[in-house]
């Protein structure tokens, strides 16, 4: 019996009992709305919550700064990390767990056994491969070992942040530890990647909530990134786009153009080549709290080829020239000729030639001129 889709049990969830049904529904609706799930999804989420079903989540940390967890803590709808923890059962998280040491390791192994094939694995941080992976060890085991073991029986795997998605900062040159992302290690598994430094927490929430509610993962691109967040480039939805189109560029930090909020392309903004939704979903619950919004060019942190590889102030090509950019062709079409004029012109020429031909015929009828005889 699929615990998530079975709706026969109808006991109110512990959360609901705590805060009341109305408020509960409000929270669920807000959660669904924030990631664009439809009304019907809300119903399903409520029903899933009603069942008191909280899928288990095992959250592994490797070579990371914990920034992605931190950014997740700064979300408000759903508000408060505790609500998130009520929608899911966060059974292993090194930062947020109260337990430590052997206790938390036991929790990890118990969860893996009890929820085998049902838990969601979240990976934060890159995994070093060099020298057998000794550069990151937890409880005496390498990150490589832990990842392979936990991923083996996971129902879904989410790589949160650029480090887990493709290596991120630890993988930037010279990459002394051989850091790499989870998909590169778990080659035969579907890994949802949520790149970003930090990742936009709502992208993560969206994936998790969809999985929790509908049991499915969103559509992914060839790098495992959910299309609902990573299909478009920053440039396509950037609020400073009119300035780009009008050629108003910041030349130096602090100059007049900078103060007026003009386009940062010339400062090396990677927006035109970076797939992410930061331009429309800002951070820290503060509108405008995102790099370009505060006046710094995008560094392309979601893109493996750009993040921490290409210098921040190097300009990039535009990946997709989409509207409002339109271009005339090399040879534009300047319109045809008027059929009326052609008709008139043809008529005139025809009449002239016809008249001349008629004259010729008349002359045929006349004999040689008589003056000629007198001319000797």
């Amino acid at each position: 019996m699929d615990p998530i889709l079975d709706i026969s049990a109808k006991t109110p969830s512990a959360l609901e009992t705590k805060i009341g049904r109305r408020k509960f529904l409000k929270i669920i609706t807000a959660a669904a709305a924030s990631i664009g799930l439809s009304g019907s999804a809300v119903v399903q989420m409520v029903e899933a919550a009603d069942l008191g079903l909280k899928p288990s989540v095992i959250w592994l940390h490797f070579q990371e700064c914990t920034g992605c967890t931190e950014s997740l803590l700064r979300t408000a709808h759903p508000e408060l990390a505790s609500l998130i923890l009520d929608l899911i059962s966060l059974d292993y998280h090194e930062t947020l767990a109260a337990a430590a040491g052997h206790q938390i390791e036991k929790s990890l192994h118990d969860t893996m056994a009890a929820q085998k094939g049902k838990y969601v694995l979240v990976v934060e941080g890159s995994i070093p491969e060099k020298d057998g992976g000794i550069y990151c060890k937890i409880a005496g085991r390498t990150a490589l070992e832990i990842l392979n073991e936990v991923a083996a029986d996971a129902a879904a795997i989410i790589a949160l942040g650029s480090c887990a998605s493709f290596g991120g900062l630890p993988a930037s040159g010279p990459n002394p530890t051989g850091a790499t992302g989870a998909p590169m290690i778990l080659k035969d598994k579907t890994v949802v990647t949520i790149p970003g430094c930090p990742a936009n927490p709502y992208n993560f929430l969206g994936v998790v909530l969809q999985f929790v509610t509908l049991g499915t993962l969103p559509a992914l691109d060839d790098k495992g990134r959910p299309l609902f967040a990573y299909a478009r480039t920053i440039h396509e939805d950037c609020p400073r786009r009119p300035h780009f189109d009008a050629g108003r560029f910041v030349q130096q930090f602090g100059d007049e153009d900078h103060r007026l909020g003009h386009c940062l392309y010339k400062m090396g903004c990677k927006g035109p080549a970076t797939h992410a939704n930061c331009s429309i979903k800002h951070f820290c619950e503060v509108p405008g709290a995102w790099p370009i919004g505060i006046g710094h060019p995008c560094i392309g942190c979601t893109e493996k080829e750009l993040a921490f590889q290409v210098p921040i102030h190097t300009t990039v090509d535009i990946e997709r020239a989409t509207p409002p950019d339109t271009y005339p062709p090399i040879h534009a079409d300047h319109g045809g000729v008027s059929p009326v004029a052609t008709a008139v012109g043809g008529a005139v020429v025809g009449v002239a030639l016809g008249a001349a031909w008629k004259q010729a015929k008349k002359l045929d009828g006349e004999g040689p001129d008589s003056t000629d005889k007198k001319e000797e």
Partner: protein, 290 residues
């Protein structure tokens, strides 16, 4: 009658001989070089992102009104025209893609300058081809002559002008760069001394073998242009014509100078004809007219 014909032919031979003699040095003339203080631009298609900031900047720097004519997008001209001195076009075919910046090429031996009757279009300071409103009569011969289809005419004005890029010479006088070069965020088009730009173009080709088509357009084309192009797609695809190395106006100049040098040939012909006619008239007075 034989005598008059002889006289005429004599005269003609004399005129022809003079013309031929004066024509020889003209035919053997050297191709022209860029002036010593020549400036120009270098456009590199691999660097252009099609942002069209140059199109906007050109409009502003030259006080050109937006082009809102016709049932098209606002201010999105389809080609150079009387309100557009600089334009970015797009070439797309079979997955190949390139932008193309089009404006006056500031040829070293321009066809338009060779055409203009009264020197309205001339190469002036730094070899920049500029248009003088005080001289132009609007005959549009420059439009017929230019192989790049650059000069545009104000068809809807009562006092029409010829409109074309003049390398922002009004800005150069203030020590600034042409507006398009100044605003380009990618330095896809750069301004500088012609010699330095040519050297830079050659350097780029050496530094990045295989990136560019093996030719700097404008180095020799049509006698050379002060605006140079580097491209990753064939130049004909970008609308740049295959011109050969000879300057466009050279043939005309050779003929005009050769035949009319010092007006010797016409004068000789005139005198010869006059002489023949006088002779005929004298004959006629003697009653010998056939």
């Amino acid at each position: 009658m034989a005598r008059t014909r002889r006289a005429f032919l004599k005269g003609l031979a004399y005129a022809g001989g003079t013309a031929a003699v004066s024509a020889v040095p003209a035919v053997a003339s050297e191709p022209r070089k860029a002036p010593d203080d020549a400036v120009g631009m270098l456009y590199d298609t691999t660097r252009c992102i099609g942002c069209k900031a140059c199109v906007v900047a050109c409009h502003e720097a030259n006080d050109l009104p937006p082009d809102t004519r016709g049932d098209v997008l606002y201010d999105a001209p389809q080609s150079l025209n009387d309100r557009t001195k600089n334009i970015i076009k797009l070439y797309q075919e079979d997955g190949r893609r390139s932008y193309m910046k089009q404006q006056c090429m500031h040829c070293i031996d321009p066809a338009c300058v060779g055409a203009c009757m009264i020197g309205a279009l001339q190469k002036r300071e730094h070899g920049i081809v500029t248009w003088d409103s005080d001289r132009c009569i609007g005959c549009r011969y420059c439009q017929v002559a230019c192989p790049y289809n650059v000069p545009k005419f104000e068809w809807e004005e009562a006092n029409p002008r010829i409109i074309k890029c003049e390398l922002c010479n009004h800005r150069l006088a203030e020590g600034k760069e042409p507006a398009c070069c100044e605003v380009c965020p990618r330095d896809a088009v750069i301004y500088g001394k012609y010699d330095e730009l040519l050297a830079e173009a050659k350097k780029r080709m050496v530094d990045h073998p295989g990136r560019y088509v093996d030719k700097i357009y404008g180095e020799h084309d049509g006698g050379g242009t002060q605006v140079l192009y580097l491209s990753h797609v064939p130049f004909e695809k970008l609308g740049l014509p295959e011109l050969g190395d000879e300057a466009v106006p050279k043939l005309n100049r050779t003929i005009q100078h050769g035949v009319y040098k010092g007006m010797i040939a016409p004068a000789a012909l005139y005198v010869a004809m006059g002489a023949v006619m006088l002779r005929n008239r004298r004959k006629g007075d003697q009653g010998d007219e056939s």
